[in-house]
Each structure stands twice: as C-alpha cells, then as structure tokens.
C-alpha cells in the first residue's frame, strides 16, 4: 500500500468522461470552523456542498456519485486532505453497487484520505455490494499524522442477498483493501483478496455463514484505557451478528459479521457510540442523508 499523497489527484486526459469519477477536496479552518473546498471534480461525482449536522464546527459531506453504481470498468476516485486542526465527516449517499463485468474488466473504487496534525477524520461510507459476475477492486488508504484522530468504517456485502433466490458470493473477483498509516508507519492493513472460485466459494464458511463483513477503526493519540471494553459491551448481543474488538496501542479495531445489512449498521453505530466521545469529544448520532 503506497502512502497516499496529500496533493490533489490530477485527471489523466486518457480517462473517459463519465467512466472515471474524480473528486479532490480540502478541509480548511476558516471562520472558526472547518470548511470543505472542492478543488476539482469530474462526473459522475457531483459537488453538492456540505452541512453541519452536529450543529458545531464539523462539516458532514455526502460523497455524491450520480452514476448510481459501477458499470464494468468504472472508476471512482475520492481524494481528501484535512489540513491541521480541521475535523470533518465523510459519508456516502448510498451503498457502492458493482454491476456485472461480462468482458472481464475490473471496476475500481479508490479513496485516499490525508489527515493533518490534530485533525479529526470520521469516514463512514455505506457498504460495497459486489453483484453477481462483478469484478471489483477497492482501495481505501488513510494517511494520518500522529496527533490526528480517526473513526472509520468499512463494509462489504456478499452481494444482493435478497435478490431473487439470492446472489450470495456470486462475484467473480474481489479485492478490498483498507489501510491506515500513522506518521508513515503502517498501523493496519485489512486486505481481502478473493479472485479465484475456490476462495470465493469458501467465504461463506470463513464468514461463519454471515453475508456482511464490517470493520471499524478508531484511533486517537490519547485513547482512554479500557475504551475497547466499552466497545465490546456496546456491540455485544446485537441480533444476527458475531463481533470482536481488540486494541493495538492507540488503535481499536472492531470486526463484525452479520446476517443482515441493518445488523452490521447497528453494530457499527454501537462501536461509534462507544468510541466517538473519546475520539471526537461528542456523542454519536444517526447520520441523516435525506
């Protein structure tokens, strides 16, 4: 995993308009709050601003991809830099849906987030859904300054689990990577590589019969002792889920497997509820998207 650059990504003239979504944003302290500047974007990403859902200085930005999903060969590349001292929450309008790739090309979702000193990033996207016969490559890279703070989630579903007879683990290629570095040092690298039929078929067993895998990461340089136990208590007993929590230094990792989408969402929210006061200094609240 290469360290993501904080410099905006320049569009390549070779990129086909409409096939390569790109958005560069930068969070800055201005007028006593964080504001998000759109540096440049290409369709189907759309700039629709941001709002202050917590009624404080932290903007919430919905990453809007008007494409509605990833057709074969589509790329969506979101790049954000949080300047020192800023705080911002990024989420998506809906799940990332990856459609079938009958000609063998791969659809890509790339997220590069650069978090400056004393900045707070909350990254809570919806789940990725690889449809039957899709070929998917996801890369999420978060580069943090040692004094920065983070709550981030990642979730992958087995497919359209309630479509027809179900499309569970029917994709043809899935690489899903979520990496975090602190001060250039690798802190966590969650990489699922399921690109052969044997591995894809084994996933249902390896996921304990569940159909959704979700992971939450919480980091702060001053994470209180025992907060991982609070997370453990918060996520315990949610219907249909199997979950665990661990702490490695100042990083808390929560792994969740669930039968239904809402169960994973509930567990992620419970983890956020336990971690957010320590990381962001405020309580978690449901993120409103419409």
């Amino acid at each position: 995993m290469a360290e993501p650059s904080s410099a905006p990504v320049a569009p390549d003239p070779e990129w086909i308009v409409g096939k390569y979504a790109l958005m560069n944003v930068r969070a800055r302290r201005r007028l006593g709050r964080t504001e998000i500047d759109p540096l440049c974007w290409r369709i189907p990403f759309q700039w629709q601003g941001y709002h202050y859902q917590d009624h404080d200085d932290e903007p919430f930005m919905l990453i809007v991809n008007s494409g509605g999903g990833f057709v074969e060969g589509d790329v969506a590349h979101f790049h954000a830099e949080l300047e020192p001292g800023t705080r911002a929450l990024f989420t998506t309008t809906a799940s990332s849906k990856f459609y079938k790739c009958p000609d063998g090309a791969v659809s890509r979702e790339i997220t590069d987030l650069h978090v400056g000193a004393d900045a707070l990033l909350e990254f809570c996207p919806d789940e990725a859904i690889p449809f039957a016969r899709s070929r998917v490559h996801r890369v999420n890279r978060i580069a943090m300054a040692p004094s920065s703070r983070l709550f981030a989630t990642d979730m992958v579903s087995a497919g359209r689990v309630h479509y027809g007879d179900g499309e569970v683990f029917r994709f043809h290629h899935l690489v899903s990577e979520f990496g975090i570095t602190i001060g250039g040092r690798r802190l966590a690298l969650d990489r699922l590589v399921a690109t052969d039929p044997e591995t894809i078929a084994a996933l249902e067993r390896l996921w304990q019969g569940r159909r959704h895998m979700a992971t939450a990461f919480g980091y702060a340089p001053d994470l209180p002792a025992g907060v991982e136990d609070d997370v453990h208590d918060a996520i315990a007993g949610i219907d249909g889920t199997e979950a665990g929590v661990t702490r490695i230094g100042e990083l808390v990792i929560v792994r969740i497997l669930s039968a239904e989408t809402w169960q994973a969402h509930e567990a992620l929210f419970a983890a956020w509820g336990a971690l957010r006061p320590a990381i962001a200094g405020k309580r978690a609240r449901p993120i409103l998207k419409c």
Partner: protein, 235 residues
C-alpha cells in the same frame, strides 16, 4: 513438491531442527483464535478441527505469512534490509487482532534469538539490530525466511518448512485442547501435504500487493480470545 535444498544433509537437518515444535519459538503456546472456537464447542473433534486448520492454512497463512517468508528470503538474498523492514511492517499490519500480532512478533523474536545462539548466523545481525532499535517488530515469517536464506535453504523449501511448522504447532495445540490422539493429529498433518506443497508454491509466486487474509471469522475468534475466562494459550 519443491526440492531446491535436496542433496545437502546439513540443509535438511537444519530444516528439520528449526521447524521442529521443540525449537524454542514459543509457537506451541499460540492458537491464533482456535482456543475460542474450541472453548465454544464449535471445534470439538478431529474432523471439525481439521477443516478449520485447512482453512487457516489456505486462507490466512499461505497468502500472508507464507508469502511473506518467500519475500523475506528474496530480500535477504539481495541484501535489501530496507525492503525486509518494510515487509515486516506489512506483516504486522495485516494482523488485525492484538494477540495474533503479538504472537507473530514474539515468536519471531524468539526464533531469531534461538537461531543466533544455535547457528550463530552473522548475516542476520542487521535484522537483529533493526529489531533492537525498534525499526521493525521482527515477525516470525520474516525472520524465518531470512534465517533460512542465511543457511542456504532454497526459497521453496523454506516456505514449505515454515508452513509445515505452523500447521504442526497448531495441531499440537488442538491435540491438547480438544483433545486429539497422537495418531489423529499426525493424520491431519499428513493429509495436508498436498495443501502444504501447493500452498508453498502459491506463496512463492505471490506479489507483495496480493498479501491478504480472508478469515474474518477467525479474526473475531482471536479478538474474543482476549476475553476468554479460562485460557491455556497466549493467543
């Protein structure tokens, strides 16, 4: 089947010794989350344990530590200390539970210490120094690959021995915890030979950016192990 260390009794003897459960790495103390499953009753006989072992090997060890051991061997061959340290960081980052990460570097450090005392491998001194300086943690797969290279073991045989040692240690843990008979345990290892040889070849061919684990259920079991009331293993 790889045979690139064939023809040298010393090399074969080295592999037999360093991959033996009695070589003091502490690996026999680690279940990597399996104790959670055994405690819950999810694994309660030879068949269920064997299936989980094979999944662990195929979807967790071969595409992470197995491949890392191969890369470590090659970096050691080329004298690429910085690449070795970067690889060590990747190996650590791939382990998402505290206990599995600690198990990896604790056994790696123990392996290096024992290796130094038994085989006095001077070529490992830069890696040992980096571990002492805190420039790397010293994960087992990295140390094993580099150490085997220092002894003239071919990369294929090194990875095969690494995988075999890992499976043998885990089976010995299962034999104690479930419990299993000695013959049942040895049969599990024997039945895994094709998986071990095929896995070694696969690991040797794996690019660095393809390293990854698919065993989310075991990640959770390893995390939950931290909170088991009664534990015989460190992980």
């Amino acid at each position: 089947m790889t045979t690139d260390s064939a023809g040298s009794p010393d090399r074969l003897l080295y592999l037999l010794q360093v991959a033996n459960a009695s070589f003091p790495t502490g690996a026999f103390n680690h279940s990597y989350g399996f104790e959670t499953w055994i405690d819950s009753g999810a694994l309660d006989d030879a068949a269920s344990f064997e299936g989980a072992c094979r999944d662990w090997l195929r979807y967790a060890v071969i595409p992470t530590d197995g491949a890392a051991a191969a890369h470590a061997h090659r970096h050691a061959t080329a004298g690429e200390l910085d690449a070795l340290l970067a690889l060590d960081a990747i190996v650590g980052a791939l382990k998402l539970s505290r206990e599995s990460r600690e198990a990896s570097y604790k056994t790696g450090r123990a392996l290096l210490a024992a290796h130094r005392d038994v085989f006095s491998a001077e070529t490992l001194a830069p890696l040992a120094e980096a571990m002492r300086d805190g420039r790397c943690e010293g994960h087992q797969a990295v140390v094993f690959g580099a150490a085997a290279q220092a002894q003239g073991i071919g990369v294929g045989d090194a990875v095969l021995a690494f995988l075999h040692a890992g499976l043998s240690n885990l089976v010995s843990v299962g034999a104690r915890l479930i419990p299993l008979g000695q013959i049942e345990s040895q049969r599990i290892v024997r039945e895994a030979w094709p998986l071990l040889t095929g896995g070694a070849a696969e690991a040797c061919a794996m690019e660095l950016d393809a390293l990854g684990s698919a065993t989310a259920g075991l990640d959770i079991a390893s995390m939950r192990h931290e909170r088991l009331h009664t534990r015989l293993c460190m992980s």
